[in-house]
Amino acid sequence: VSTTENHASTYIPAAPIFLPDGPWKQIPGGVTAAEGFKAAGMYGGLRAVGEKPDLALVTCDVDAISAGSFTTNVVAAAPVLYCKKTLDNSNTARAVLTNAGQANAATGEAGYHDVIECVDNLAKLLGVKPEEVLVESTGVIGQRIKKGALLNSLPILVNSLSSSVEGADSAAVAITTTDLVSKSVAIESLVGRTKVRIGGMAKGSGMIHPNMA
């Protein structure tokens, strides 16, 4: 079951964003505001209850310089272990896949292999190398991702990719769990003499005391 893009983007209201003052202006678009980025969010049947979108994808048309910051909790989820290893091996990335519903934490070797299988499938669909695909998961600890539902949804998710504001908003909804609002923002500013755009999305409402490194 795939959620049409515009439905996904309005499933929950957007959070107010309190930007600090500075030489920038807020623009629409979240993760798709910057040149070269596309996004999509859909309901892939992963959540335990309800049909809120639960699968998000952000892609870049070119090899993007990548960086990451991760929990220092030693009980670290499989996607955290996978991303840290991948970023050690590669300076660039082309895609970030996010699932909501299952944290894929405390799932051992099987959970790690689930990540690899999802990465391999998505890399083939996108025509990129597996090590250019990064993964984030959130949800119930101890539960493996519903891999069948996720893999079946990937073709629809890839076909839904768009550089529009709705694409960004759909992705921002699809990464939420107990959030009451989606979190997405973008700004444009002069850096040197060039206009640069920075955008982002986030989720989080409970189990929040990040110590990322």
Binding site: F37, A67, A103, G199, M201, K203, H209
Partner: protein
């Protein structure tokens, strides 16, 4: 769990980008708290396409790097504050600003200690301008400062100065808290711990009955 995906069309070398992202994470996501529980999955991934046409930023000290860092900080702080604003059961965002510390890191540590205090969070939910709890949370942060230099303001109401409570209008202070709760607004706590150059902020939310209800039902 908090997750973040950040994108930009700036062109940055890998090592500079990775350092900039961690600095921004330390000034934003690592300065929020809802319940003091660090998740197994917290992740921020940041991608730079370089398609804006800007010349490549290869040094952290360049003007362009300083400007890009400020933009990155702003986007991550905007998102981080929205996470704290949406904390489970929250009725308001709590913004703690600390000045007068010896360093940015020390100021950030004091700010997060106050924002994390269950007693401060519960007092905000009870609309109680409880300066003693704020002072105690600053005092156990692990940052050394002379208690006679401690100054605490709630909004623009001076609660403590010179390390001692000031006479203030409790009704006014309580209604400041109540208004913030009724409008899902922001409670600002400003703390000074001395005369140093260090300043920092942290964000949290009040602690309500709903937080317990949500987490007694939602199994993680």
């Amino acid at each position: 769990t908090m997750l973040g995906v950040i994108t930009t069309d700036a062109w940055v070398t890998s090592d500079v980008w990775r350092k900039m992202v961690q600095v921004a994470v330390n000034r934003s996501f690592n300065q929020i708290t809802v319940d003091g529980d660090t998740s197994t999955n917290d992740t921020v991934i940041a991608l730079a396409s370089g398609l804006s046409g800007i010349r490549c930023i290869s040094s952290l000290d360049s003007d362009e790097a300083i400007q890009l860092q400020a933009c990155l900080d702003a986007v991550m702080q905007g998102l981080a504050k929205s996470i704290a604003w949406d904390g489970e059961g929250a009725t308001c965002l709590i913004e703690v600003s600390v000045t007068g510390a010896n360093s940015e890191a020390e100021a950030a540590k004091v700010a997060r200690s106050v924002a994390s205090s269950s007693l401060v969070k519960a007092a905000v939910y009870g609309r109680d301008p409880n300066w003693g709890r704020i002072a105690a949370a600053a005092g156990y942060s692990g940052v050394a400062f002379h208690q006679n230099l401690l100054r605490v303001e709630l909004g623009n109401i001076l609660l403590m100065d010179g390390g001692e409570p000031q006479s203030f209008d409790r009704g006014e202070a309580s209604s400041y808290l109540r208004t913030a709760g009724e409008t899902h607004g922001t409670v600002k706590i400003q703390i000074s711990i001395g005369n140093g150059p260090g300043q920092g902020q942290a964000w949290g939310c009040d602690l309500s009955y709903d937080y317990v209800k949500i987490n007694a039902e939602y199994t993680s």
